[in-house]
């Protein structure tokens, strides 16, 4: 049983890294949001599995937050925002898809090398989880760096944050995990609702979309 539970946790954490890679090459905001919803779904499954394996019922709460808030509410809200702003077209990428994927692989390799070497004495589950979590964090960072659009930056930040939740739940018996995941959710809600609807909207109307259009006009 020990072996099977380990394999499932391993598979879920690994899928999270995989979905992070899928986010990197999405060039439409719609599909990016869908992939993000999938990311949150995999996270919810992973956290729920950890809750079951560690026999830590409070982690189910974190899983439910991930499922309801991150996989359903936030993507839906962002969908509506981008439709209203009329920016559901291509994403402007600073680095092309090819180099971004190569960079991503480099980052995953880096996090494997660092974390596996450092945590040689920790238990294998926490060890692998941590290496995967760091990969997800770094891939999220990479996405924030390679995208110019505010919505995709937020998606990058949210997937980075998913990596942190994975790390926190993987650290067996860590206190305050639920509180931290709630704090993060509040942070994201603040951006999406507060800054987006009231503030960044002005920024989009006046700067970004125009700049984007002008940029395209030059390219074509």
């Amino acid at each position: 049983m020990r072996g099977l539970s380990f394999d499932i946790a391993h598979m879920l954490a690994g899928s999270l890294v995989l979905v992070s890679f899928m986010q990197l090459y999405q060039d439409r905001l719609y599909s990016l949001l869908n992939i993000y919803a999938l990311h949150a779904l995999v996270l919810a499954a992973s956290v729920a599995w950890q809750a079951f394996v560690q026999d830590a019922p409070h982690l189910y709460l974190t899983a439910v937050i991930a499922l309801v808030f991150k996989a359903i509410v936030i993507p839906t809200a962002l969908h509506r925002i981008i439709v209203r702003l009329g920016i559901h077209r291509e994403i402007e990428t600073v680095v092309g898809v090819g180099p971004a994927m190569l960079l991503g692989m480099g980052l995953v390799a880096l996090s494997m090398v660092v974390m596996l070497r450092v945590t040689a004495e920790a238990d294998p589950l926490a060890r692998e989880d941590l290496a995967f979590a760091l990969s997800v964090v770094l891939l999220g960072l990479l996405m924030m760096v390679t995208r110019r659009n505010a919505v995709s930056q937020v998606v990058g930040f949210m997937s980075l944050e998913n990596g942190l939740v994975l790390a926190a739940t993987g650290a067996k018996g860590m206190p305050l995990v639920v509180e931290i995941s709630v704090a993060f959710s509040v942070l994201i809600a603040f951006i999406v609702i507060g800054i987006f609807l009231f503030r960044i909207r002005e920024r989009f109307d006046t700067v970004d979309v125009q700049a984007l259009d002008r940029f395209r006009g030059e390219r074509r």
């Binding site: 660092v114 974390m115 070497r117 450092v118 945590t119 040689a120 004495e121 920790a122 926490a126 941590l130 979590a133 760091l134 964090v137 960072l141 924030m144 505010a150 930056q153 930040f157 980075l160 944050e161 942190l164 790390a167 926190a168 650290a171 067996k172 018996g173 860590m174 206190p175 305050l176 509180e179 931290i180 704090a183 942070l187 603040f190 951006i191 507060g194 800054i195 503030r199 960044i200 002005e202 920024r203 006046t206 700067v207």
Partner: protein
């Protein structure tokens, strides 16, 4: 007693924040804001006389007492300045009453978050508090809702959240390092417990954790390669917030860093955190000093000066040892007081001139003598000329380094001198020469500014022995 001073420094701002959100009318709220900040400061001072018991969540020791009293004091004087500043902003219609209500409420939430970060005995709680502080300042920076303000708030938000995300990863790693020794659960995140057992932690994990924490909290301190948010956030937000950001929030992030440094120093096998901090501090100091020359916006210029001084402070703490720590602590205190006083002056000056552009200001000592000469005094103080407080602390930092690492001391001194040149070049344009721009009289409250200058001036000449022994104690604690 059920509610002790420790709970007081948290409860007063929390209650005030809730009250201000409900109260209409900015005049009353502005006064109540001053009152709440004063009460918090008095409560914080009482920590010196009656020390409350520390629990698994909250803690008071010699180190954080200094930070709490400094934070609440500058928080109080800034609230006095803010009252007159906000009055003017309402008059010219730059802020509407609804936003002012929001502003006052957020001001107290920020105070709550900073105090919580300082008294937290739990590394997770401390992280949550610093996140809350980031969030409130993001909202305050964007409050004018101009293009530049939104741009600055967004930049701050993105960089700040990446910073706190990295810091959380570091925090999780510290927990993982502590877990095998202390056991699962709450106590593996409690400072007072961590410190007693740090020698047995896995050093490799601690090393990686510290790198993440240094990058994460270092972003909030404004250390050089990670400082990009700081000048924008200072320049575009309301000036009281620039004062609080420079004078206090940077210190709070630094405090978090110092705590983790103490933890690492207790583990004999882990890397020494000092050299990393020395390097980042030195880079920040020299880089910011050169950046001072090309500034056209007065608040942006002093923001770069803050980066320079945070660099010096981090450098001093990185060097370590009783003398350098003492110098770092003194420099931090003096910088907080001087820089916030400068921002008070700058706030009124930019209100008189209706702009923050240095090119549109001139001859201030002739047209507005009080403000003009205050700015001159402030720049003289921040540049580190004798006999003011910053001279004392900078001299101590450089001389204590000179005895150990002459090469580093020379680079540091060079950075400081370059910075002085940049500051005086701009000061010459602003304060002297042909008067430019509007010359209306300022309706200003000078008391907070003068109070800060008086303390800085006295500290440069005479420091009370009680204060010296207090700082020496803390310096020894820091190792």
């Amino acid at each position: 007693m059920i509610i002790d001073a420790l709970a007081g420094v948290l409860l007063i701002p929390a209650l005030a924040a809730a009250l201000f959100a409900a109260l209409p009318g900015y005049r009353v709220t502005a006064r109540l804001n001053v009152l709440a900040a004063l009460l918090t400061f008095l409560t914080a001072t009482s920590l010196f006389f009656v020390e409350p018991k520390s629990g698994p969540y909250l803690l008071v020791d010699d180190l954080n007492k200094v930070f709490i009293v400094l934070t609440t004091f500058v928080g109080f004087t800034t609230s006095v300045f803010s009252a007159s500043y906000i009055g003017h902003e309402i008059e010219i219609g730059r802020l509407t009453p609804v936003f002012v209500r929001f502003y006052h409420s957020m001001y107290q939430v920020l105070m709550l978050a900073m105090n919580l970060a300082l008294v937290a005995n739990n590394i997770g709680l401390m992280w949550v508090a610093i996140e809350l502080a980031t969030l409130t300042t993001v909202l305050m920076v964007g409050i004018y809702r101009t293009h530049e303000a939104l741009e600055a708030a967004w930049k701050y938000f993105i960089l700040g959240s990446v910073g706190i995300a990295l810091a959380l990863f570091g925090t999780i790693l510290v927990y993982l390092a502590a877990r095998p020794v202390i056991g699962e659960g709450l106590y593996a995140m409690v400072w007072t417990v961590l410190v007693t057992r740090a020698a047995q932690f896995d050093p490799a994990l601690l090393n990686v954790a510290f790198v993440f924490l240094l990058l994460g909290y270092g972003t909030k301190v404004g250390l050089a390669p990670l400082h990009a948010w700081l000048p924008d956030a200072h320049a575009e937000g309301p000036t009281p917030i620039s004062a609080v950001l420079s004078g206090l929030l940077l210190n709070v992030a630094l405090y978090a860093l110092l705590r983790f440094k103490m933890l690492l120093a207790l583990n004999p096998v882990a890397i020494a955190p000092g050299p990393l901090m020395v390097t980042m501090g030195l880079i920040s100091c020299v880089f910011a000093a050169f950046m001072l020359y090309r500034r056209r916006d007065i608040k942006r210029m002093f923001a770069y000066s803050s980066i320079e001084h945070m660099g010096i402070i981090v450098f001093a703490f990185g060097m370590g040892g009783p003398l350098a720590n003492f110098a770092g602590l003194l420099h931090m205190t003096m910088h907080s007081l001087t820089k916030s006083a400068i921002f008070y002056a700058v706030g009124h000056i930019s209100q008189v001139k209706g702009t923050q552009k240095i090119a549109d200001m001139g001859g201030l000592t002739v047209t507005n003598p009080v403000l003009g000469w205050s700015l001159v005094l402030g720049v003289v103080a921040i540049a580190g000329l004798p006999p003011l407080g910053i001279f004392m602390s900078e001299f101590l930092v450089v001389s204590s380094t000179f005895a150990r690492e002459p090469g580093l001391a020379i680079i540091l001194a060079l950075g400081v001198l370059v910075g002085v040149g940049g500051l005086f070049m701009r000061l010459n344009t602003i304060a002297f020469g042909e008067p430019r721009g509007p010359t209306a009289r300022a309706k200003a409250s000078y008391i907070p500014m003068f109070a800060h200058f008086a303390i800085v001036f006295v500290a440069g000449i005479y420091m009370p022995p009680a204060l010296v022994t207090g700082f020496q104690n803390v310096a020894r604690l820091l190792g």
